[in-house]
């Protein structure tokens, strides 16, 4: 019997006819993932090495949230029992009861609402899982044939497909299929490229990503002049994503805002304080087809919707789960999936190719060391970025090592900050005036 079915039986019975009155539930919700994944990697130019062999993974696990008859709550991670289903679940229920705690704001299970139509499954990925996995092996062969000579290549490809089940005591019973395709590669562990969506990479995307990464690698071999005080700093899309993850996402978590642990207070949101430049907006959008951050319904049973966190520089709302929404006095919002689903927009974005031509004196930062060590609340950063690319008169001219000092919240508020987009990325290039010096 499937895990989700076992849990539905157990929780329904505990709500309607519990074995003991103290084990009576008043409400519950279940989230279960059933998934299969295949992957293959390259280490030091060796495909399928002992550390990166072709792999198959299957899983069936999830979590339950329970509201007991006395109003207390419990939550637990769940897997299929090893043996003796009946006794196992009976013991689990007793343990969950023991772990109950008071959290009145959390003890609310939303009533079902209409779900949006969002594409989150690529059938081609299911075929890979079913055994037609030549695409993975062919890709690895292609990489190794085409890679720059003398480079040490690392890489990985993973395809995953499965079911997501969400059930609630209020009547929501949703099961849908979703897929994921994630691939990355790097040369000499210095320059890399990646792709992560709910669909396979298209041939033209694969080609563009490869060409761009190889070009960056080749440009890295030339020494370039040092940066100066007037040098513009350009964060590559992957760097922008990492900076958003470090400095922005935590400060928009409803939980942290409510507990006074974020950069912005609740009052700042209610007053719609101007925190970014009026040309800048921040959105969570889980409705984009086949994006990694897209979904139909949250684990709590809230239908996917678009949420503006910052509109034209003005704070709108943090992202709110059900519990936080109740404390906030609002409806639950969309939720980011890691960094997936979060989009930074500028009113006057241009194409990267155009923006690059206008950079007289700049440095393109592809990666930094130690970003995760920076203080999210203050937004301040002090980072070293060895292996950055120097830009002079609109052209990438070679490699330089720099140190960056600044404040990312201030960067997003600055009138000098500009953004540029490319077809390869969901996040923009960020063109900043910030502290930069030679490392």
């Amino acid at each position: 019997m499937k895990l989700v079915a076992q849990l539905e039986d157990l929780l329904y019975q505990s709500q309607q006819a519990p074995k003991k009155e103290e084990l009576r539930l008043s409400a519950w919700r279940i989230l279960v993932h059933e998934s299969e994944a295949v992957s293959l990697g390259i280490k030091d130019n060796s495909p399928g090495s002992v550390y990166t062999p072709p792999s198959y993974r299957q899983g069936e696990s999830g979590e339950v949230f329970l509201v007991w008859a006395d109003g207390t709550c419990s939550q637990a991670l769940v897997q299929l029992p090893f043996q003796n289903e009946r006794e196992f679940w009976s013991n689990e229920l007793e343990q969950w009861r023991q772990a109950s705690y008071e959290d009145p704001d959390a003890a609310h299970i939303p009533t079902p609402e209409a779900l949006p139509l969002v594409a989150v499954e690529d059938r081609a990925i299911q075929q890979i899982i079913a055994g037609q996995d030549e695409v993975l092996f062919d890709q690895v062969k292609h990489w190794l044939t085409e890679k720059p000579s003398n480079s040490k290549m690392q890489g990985s490809i993973q395809a995953a497909w499965g079911y997501r089940h969400v059930r609630t005591s209020t009547g929501l019973a949703v099961t849908y299929q979703q897929s994921q395709f994630v691939t990355w590669f790097s040369f000499d562990s210095l320059v890399g490229g990646g792709f992560a969506k709910r669909r396979l990479i298209r041939p033209e995307e694969r080609e563009d990503l490869w060409t761009q990464t190889v070009n960056h690698y080749e440009e890295m071999k030339k020494e370039a002049p040092s940066v100066g005080p007037q040098t513009q700093v350009i964060l590559s899309p992957s760097m922008t994503e990492e900076m958003l993850g470090q400095f922005i996402l935590p400060n928009f978590s409803g939980d942290r805002v409510l507990e006074g642990q974020g950069a912005f207070s609740k009052e700042s949101f209610l007053e719609q304080k101007l925190v970014f430049h009026p040309h800048v907006s921040l959105i969570i959008d889980p409705l984009q087809p086949l994006e990694l951050g897209s979904y139909l319904v949250t684990p709590e049973g809230v239908p996917a919707q678009r949420t503006m966190l910052v509109r034209e520089g003005l704070l709108q709302t943090p992202y709110l789960r059900v519990k936080e929404a109740i404390r906030w006095g609002a409806k639950p919002t969309a939720l980011p999936q890691g960094m997936g689903g979060l989009y930074l927009k500028h009113q006057y974005e241009v194409r990267w190719e155009e923006a690059l031509q206008e950079v007289e004196d700049g440095v393109l930062v592809l990666s930094v060391l130690g970003l995760h060590t920076q203080e999210a609340v203050s937004g301040s950063y002090s980072l070293s970025a060895p292996h950055s690319l120097r830009i002079l008169k609109g052209k990438i001219v070679g490699r330089t090592d720099v140190k960056l000092t600044g404040n990312f919240l201030a960067d997003l508020a600055a009138s000098t900050t500009r953004m540029a987009h490319s077809n390869l990325n969901d996040h923009p290039y960020l063109i900043l005036k910030t502290g930069v010096q030679t490392l």
Partner: protein, 497 residues
């Protein structure tokens, strides 16, 4: 799931491989975790659960490998995973993968290590644990009401069993517990956070904290320090004589050095040459030693590798000279080092990689330091000891870096960065505080700059090693403080000089 059950399961899966050509490693893990978090006086989450499953790593007779895992611990699935794993290994053979037959050389071991915990998982009920954590959280809030506080407690029990085609069957239990206080303080419109922890094997951690308040005192002192940091100036960037605490020293030893001697990294390590460990290379001054190995009761304790080999304690640097690396069965020989049982994995679902357990950086030249109850008293003690021994370098700031916020290293280039909670100039009798700024440079230069230690060893700095996208418990330390000379290849970020 108990050790006996998990051993039986592994044996039954291995039985499925008897008729097949090749070599098989079966890893099974049953993990239980209870965790709770309090936020500003109320429970935010109490969670129970775990993650259990097993994996089969198969090798063709030529040494190509494949891997298959499931989070369903069921003997019936054993056959399916064995077939999947060997099928993938055969596919792998066809694409010209690098073969590795080292596992055939591994010694046969049959061991069952008893659970070393003092209070077994579940001995203290969840209700009692919740009461104790609430008491500790409330005491902290009362003691430092201007902070926003979160308190977390986790206790984990992992039962591991590894079986191999040669008849090896090794099982052990890893108990682990940690209490953490995270505080956010504000001053002059700026915010800073601080995180302190106390770790051990089990709920004894809570009982000890109830009695001695060690973590509570540390949390309040660190919060007061964080508040001072909010309005503190930035340092001019540059090169300074440094004093680093043992948390940062663990970071330096782990990120900047330990990873560079792991056997799978020799092709791209600054401590490797033509794929071999540069044994005999002088990497530090005489008297500097770096040792890695499991300690019972420690956060990163693990008595056997995830390939079923004994985990050895290794002296990596002896008297300033690189003498050994951390080798697992698959890459130690290629890397020119002995197999030390260094393979560790986050779970049954990942391939084990050579990695550290508890890494300690110790120097022969140690100045005595009396450990003080409060942070600033200890900092004064550091200054007095340095003055007394003529160790304060004149005409410049002597900067004490406090708190480890993590770091990163590029083992190929030897570049490292670390971040601390804040900085104090111990050359100035007023002990001025500065904002944290990045501590970066070249790893060999940083090691070469170490000139002494202050105080006895403290090895309980804990963390999580993220190598290979996995999350594996790590720990370590040094003397309470390490002294480092000025070095042009080691700098502090900050305002442009």
């Amino acid at each position: 799931m108990e050790q006996l059950e998990i051993r039986t399961l592994v044996q039954s899966v291995l039985a499925e491989t008897k008729e097949l050509e090749g070599y098989f490693i079966v890893r099974a893990q049953s993990r239980r975790e209870w965790s709770m978090r309090l936020s500003n006086g109320r429970f935010d989450r109490v969670s129970t659960g775990g993650d259990s499953g097993f994996g089969v790593q198969a090798f063709t007779k030529e040494g190509a490998s494949g891997f298959a895992t499931s989070d369903v611990l069921s003997p019936e699935l054993g056959r399916k995973l064995v077939e999947k794993a060997i099928g993938l290994a055969r596919r792998n053979e066809e694409i010209g993968s690098k073969r590795n037959r080292q596992i055939w050389e591994a010694p046969l071991i049959q061991e069952q290590i008893e659970n070393p915990s003092q209070k077994i998982f579940g001995e203290i009920s969840l209700v009692e644990l919740q009461e104790k954590v609430m008491v500790l959280h409330s005491r902290l809030r009362d003691g430092f009401p201007e902070g926003s506080w979160q308190t977390s407690y986790r206790q984990i029990e992992e039962v591991w069993c590894m079986g191999r085609s040669d008849g090896t069957l090794v099982s052990f239990v890893i108990p682990r517990a940690a209490l953490m206080h995270q505080g956010t303080v504000r001053d002059q419109g700026k915010a800073q956070s601080t995180l302190v922890h106390r770790s051990g094997m089990d709920a004894t951690v809570l009982f000890e904290e109830i009695t001695d308040h060690t973590l509570e005192t540390k949390a309040m002192d660190r919060a007061a320090f964080a508040k001072a940091v909010c309005s503190a100036p930035l340092l001019p960037s540059g090169h300074y004589p440094l004093v680093i605490d043992y948390g940062l020293a663990k970071g330096l030893a782990h990120e900047a050095f330990g990873h560079a001697v792991e056997s799978d990294h020799m092709n791209e390590s600054v401590l490797g040459e033509a794929g071999k460990l540069r044994k005999g290379l002088r990497v530090a001054r005489p008297g500097v030693n770096i040792i890695d190995g499991p300690l019972i009761g420690d956060w990163a304790y693990q008595p056997f590798s995830a390939n079923g080999l004994l985990r050895q304690t290794v002296t990596i640097v002896e008297d300033g000279v690189l003498v050994a690396g951390l080798g697992d069965i698959f890459s130690a020989e290629d890397a020119g080092m002995p197999v030390t049982g260094a393979g560790r994995a986050e779970s049954y679902g990942q391939i084990p990689l050579p990695r550290m357990s508890n890494i300690r950086l110790l120097v022969d030249r140690m100045l005595p330091l009396t450990v003080a109850e409060h942070l600033m008293d200890e900092v004064k003690g550091v200054r007095e000891t340095l003055l007394c021994h003529g160790e304060l370098l004149e005409g410049t700031k002597n900067l004490l870096l406090l708190g480890y916020r993590g770091g990163q290293v590029n083992p190929k280039t030897g570049d490292f960065v670390f971040q601390c909670d804040g900085i104090i100039d111990v050359a100035d009798p007023t002990l001025p505080i500065y904002q944290p700024s990045i501590f970066s440079g070249k790893i060999l230069s940083a090691l070469e700059a170490i000139r002494g230690g202050l105080g006895e060893g403290a090895f309980d700095a804990i963390g999580t090693c993220g190598k290979g996208g996995q999350s594996v418990a790590s720990s370590g330390g040094s003397h309470r403080y390490l002294l480092m000379d000025v070095d042009q290849q080691v700098s502090l970020g900050g305002e442009q000089a």
